[in-house]
Amino acid sequence: MASSNPAVIQTCGLSKRYRKVTALSEATLTVPQGRISALIGPNGAGKTTLLRLLAGLARPTGGEVAVLGGAPRQDPAFLAEIGFVAQEIPLYRRLSAEDHIGVGAHLNPRWDAASVRQRLKGLNIPLDQTVGTLSGGQRAQVALSLTLAKRPRLLLLDEPVAALDPLARRQFLAHLAEAVAGGGLTVVLSSHLLADLERVCDHLILLAASRVQLCGDIDTVLAEHQVLVGPRKDTTAIEKAHTLVQATHTARQSTLLIRVGGPVVDPAWEAADVGLEELVLGYMGQHAGPAFSHLTSVGEDQ
């Protein structure tokens, strides 16, 4: 059922260059409707750039991007369908949450003020206090509630839980999941940590070195990969039939992360399912070089 959903986000060869730096390169990805997609990647991988391109806050320097069926554009009807919360959680520090509700009511065609008040009261966040005096977690909740009050069809969140303590993080994600359960909402949220998002997300976009390494439903992506453990030997036979993502060798043993291209026939290899964290680290290690080498070369000297 889910796979036949229309795509909310569709990009093809999407690129963004700032004067000398390539922030995003040839990104091709699809996010179907109703997904909560984890946009994962190390710092500087291009997560923020991708989100800003999707929100229409930046213009691509190459490729195509379609969000909700059209290019992101300066059009009130389009903007009404999109919610974006930047990493810094921009709010008017000297205005109260209630003031922000007023702002939203004046600037949006659809506006569910009651839901914001109810939600914030439920979290014991004062409505009449200036938001500058609230904690980071409370501000994130205010920003999320305000964004959801627009009743957007696509919600883009840049590192929304990075600054939150575990309880606030849990509340935030529960709030988010509840909104998606209401139907009609698709979410992309970025993080450099997967653990936070693993249970709430059902879709994954993995960015590393400004390129998309992986994109798809988490169940599908996991099913497409396997870990092979066996005595140390030449991997050319494996590489012929499968895509080798990452190979780790000790003196006697080889551990291979592969994207499965067919059945593994060589009985020397013991095949095992791969966990999400292992998979993500495998792809990041492949591209990130020294920063992740300590994660991929464990056991090298043993």
Binding site: L57, A58, Q74, L79, I82, G83, F84, Y92, L95, G102
Partner: protein, 332 residues
């Protein structure tokens, strides 16, 4: 959007309104005193037939008050610094522009409403201060005929409105391009002061061709009617205009307000300079030297006000256009 603009800026609006009200009270009270002082002086001088000399005997207002009124020349710059500079830059700094831009409102509309109200407020405050100053100065203008002079010209009439619009537009544009409030303020002060000086000192006197009137050194220089603006004066000798020697450091003397370069005068006359201005004048006239004054007649006052206001309004419009392009075309 207007609701948001008001909610964001209402405190500074109240503050500015309070400052304006305080200034208005001061100006209205002292202005009435000054007007009645002037009228009673007129009545008494008419009785004693000494009104021709009134400008030399009557001093209107106190020095402190005159200074305060003169200082209103900085009001447009203050508006540019406190209203223009932070308007967009502050939003960029705190990221609140991104909050606004993710509501169902286009960036161009967001900017249009913010800039529109800022310019309207600038015009209102600049105009109100100018109106008060103009009214307050009317007895002084009638008495001293100085309102065309640099300094007075800049704080009366409609030019302060043009300056205020320009200063606020400059602040907005600098803030948008630099994306930071403090540098925007510095640029606003610098560019505004520079342009005001350049236009006031070098450009203004050329808006319309000045009137030149020659005179003989046997008499005092002519005094055109009303609040004229004396742009320059000098000496024409038998061989044409005499260079102004004090422009390159030579000694000069003022003949009724007209500079006379001593070094370039006939040596026979030079010795008379310190003996008697009258003899010096006769000597110059005898040697074929004549003086001239170049001035803008009082009748052109409003034309000049209009031209100068127009220049600053056009500059403001250009800056707003640049701002609009930067906000809508550039990545957020």
């Amino acid at each position: 959007m207007t609701w948001l603009v008001w909610r964001q800026h209402r405190n500074q609006t109240y503050l500015a309104a309070a400052a304006l009200a305080a200034f208005a009270v001061l100006v209205l009270i002292t202005g009435r005193q000054m007007a009645s002082q002037y009228h009673s002086a007129l009545t008494s001088c008419a009785a004693s037939h000494t009104c021709g000399n009134l400008a030399n005997t009557l001093i209107l207002g106190t020095p402190v008050l005159s200074l305060l009124v003169t200082l209103t020349v900085v009001v447009p710059c203050l508006l540019g610094v406190f209203w223009g500079g932070p308007l967009v830059a502050r939003e960029f700094e705190t990221g609140t522009s991104q909050f606004a831009w993710m509501q169902s409102i286009t960036r161009s509309r967001w900017l249009a409403v913010k800039v529109g109200w800022a310019l309207l407020a600038a015009a209102a405050w600049g105009g109100a201060v100018s109106a008060l100053v103009t009214w307050w100065s009317s007895p002084v203008n009638a008495l001293n005929h100085q309102n065309f002079q640099p300094g007075q010209f800049d704080i009366q009439g409609i030019v302060p409105v043009g300056y205020a619009l320009f200063a606020v537009a400059l602040g907005i544009a600098a803030g948008t391009l630099l994306r930071r409030t403090l540098p925007a303020l510095a640029v606003t002060i610098g560019v505004f002061t520079f342009l005001r000086l350049v236009i006031g000192q070098d450009l203004r006197s050329h808006y319309l061709t000045a009137v030149t009137t020659p005179f003989s050194f046997l008499h005092a220089p002519p005094s055109p009617k009303g609040s004229y603006w004396l742009v320059s004066g000098g000496v024409v000798g038998p061989a044409g205009q005499v260079a102004n020697s004090h422009a390159h450091g030579g000694p000069g003397v003022s003949f009724g307000g007209v500079p006379v370069p001593i070094d370039n005068m006939p040596s026979a006359c030079r010795v008379l300079v310190f003996q008697s201005p009258l003899k010096f004048g006769s000597c110059l006239a005898a040697h074929g030297y004549r003086g001239f004054i170049t001035y803008q007649p009082a009748s052109r006052y409003w034309a000049f006000q209009g031209i100068e206001t127009g220049i600053f309004v056009l500059l403001a419009a250009a800056l707003i256009a640049v701002t609009a392009i930067a906000v809508t075309r550039r990545d957020a």
